[in-house]
Symmetry: C2
Subunit: 232 residues, 2 copies
DNA sequence: ATATTAATTGTCAAACAGACAATTAATATT
DNA sequence: AATATTAATTGTCTGTTTGACAATTAATAT
């Protein structure tokens, strides 16, 4: 009979694909790796799962340490566990994707780690299987965002419909009709229109909106159709 | 700087929630655990991830060994990694859910393991966090099945619309209008009507259908609306 | 021959999706 | 000061989908 003691033991790590939005393009946050192998190469934010914490805890800890941010939107993606994915020693990694407001991070820049935002479509080659992780995360982000109102996590508290519109187009890599988009997004009832306008982008200015927290919480698990031509 | 050698190492396991459908109810396949702790208690089918295999490989191996079946529908769910989930030693487990044709399994019963089908709503208490895993798997099955044609995996090659109808009702724990259901399911274009009828269930008999493999493959990733009142 | 039962096809109004047009609120230009 | 310009916003319309509900059909049982 199989016993615990005979079984091999492995390192377990977490890696976070951190998405942000600069108002025009989707970006990911990368760090220069601080340990061998592949030291000084770009990689995802990651770390080993400690003895007293769950993988979820570890991911939150890593994000806190490297960005200073707490309570960010974090979602478990999948486990990466090919036997030879790490050349030093077998390590399984739990992939997470995180959505953060890029401006919050800029404000809390941490000099202990060399971190940098890269355009999702113009990023350096990453170590190990991190390139695959990014591709998977992007796919999952698209999938999830088509059905659930999560992209707000990448915008500031106050945002305009045009900002949201560009973000949706970026994430889905497609053009969306402006008029239908604003009708659909407002008809979800998740947005509260503010009196103030953003005048930086246009002459007319665009009204700011904020999330209706209550309805947002209630709809987080509900299905919405946030993308045109989504066959449901 | 953090180095590999200082880090703790853990056991990594897989656990499979195996779903089946007996024509009336949703069932899961459980086994009597063969090792301490909690020996002889009911648990999910699981095993440790070996040195030369990925977690996906391990899940397939475990299923093959315990059911004799290969190539079953298997989907990674999430990782379970609370520090004390296993009382003997820290073990992280990757949860998978599997969909199999219950009749295929019955034909290949393996006497080496005491396995048994249980009604999903009338199952014994399971070891560790396996009860939570079942609850999560059920939720994920519902979610996935609302958007993607996966429930066919639990039916024989030839099946009738009424069979499929009951299966959808079971999975979603709700009543679905028979007339709307058959219209919706046939309008997906995924089914091919056969000449033969199933006469066991009714006087009139219900036509058998089979999957259009090509269209099924093409639509596996596409969004469909397979559940009424799904707000998309 | 008729009743019965479950499968199947049909009907219809309301809601929704998506293509496209018109209006509005501001600034910039003449 | 009137007009052009620009982006935001509101509006229109048609075809499709949804889901509530009714009628018909193909068999067996009485």
């Amino acid at each position: 009979m199989i016993e615990y003691s005979r079984q091999p033991h492995y390192l377990v790590a977490v890696d976070c694909i951190v998405f942000g939005f600069d108002g025009e393009h989707l970006k990911i946050l990368l760090v220069k790796r601080g340990l061998e192998p592949e030291i000084n190469k770009w990689s995802l934010m990651g770390g080993f799962v400690g003895a007293e914490e769950s993988p979820d805890d570890a991911a939150n800890r890593v994000l806190k340490k490297m960005t200073g941010l707490e309570g960010v939107y974090l979602e478990q993606m999948q486990i990466y566990g090919e036997p030879n994915r790490d050349p030093i020693e077998r390590t399984l990694s739990v992939g997470y994707f995180a959505l953060i407001d890029i401006h919050k991070y800029e404000a809390q820049l941490n000099d202990d780690y060399e971190a940098e935002w890269f355009l999702i479509n113009d990023r350096p080659k990453l170590i190990f299987d991190h390139n695959q992780m990014v591709a998977d995360a992007r796919k999952k982000l698209r999938y999830k965002a088509a059905l659930h109102p999560i992209l707000f996590e990448m915008l500031p508290k106050k945002f305009t419909i045009p900002q949201l519109h560009i973000l949706f187009e970026e994430v889905n890599d497609t053009k969306i009709d402006t008029r239908n988009f604003s009708r659909k997004i407002t008809s979800t009832g998740l947005l509260i229109k503010l009196a103030e306008k953003d005048r930086t982008g246009s002459k007319k200015g665009a009204f700011y909106f904020k999330l209706d927290k209550k309805k947002y919480a209630a709809n987080a698990q509900a299905f919405l159709n946030l993308m045109p031509n989504l066959k449901v």
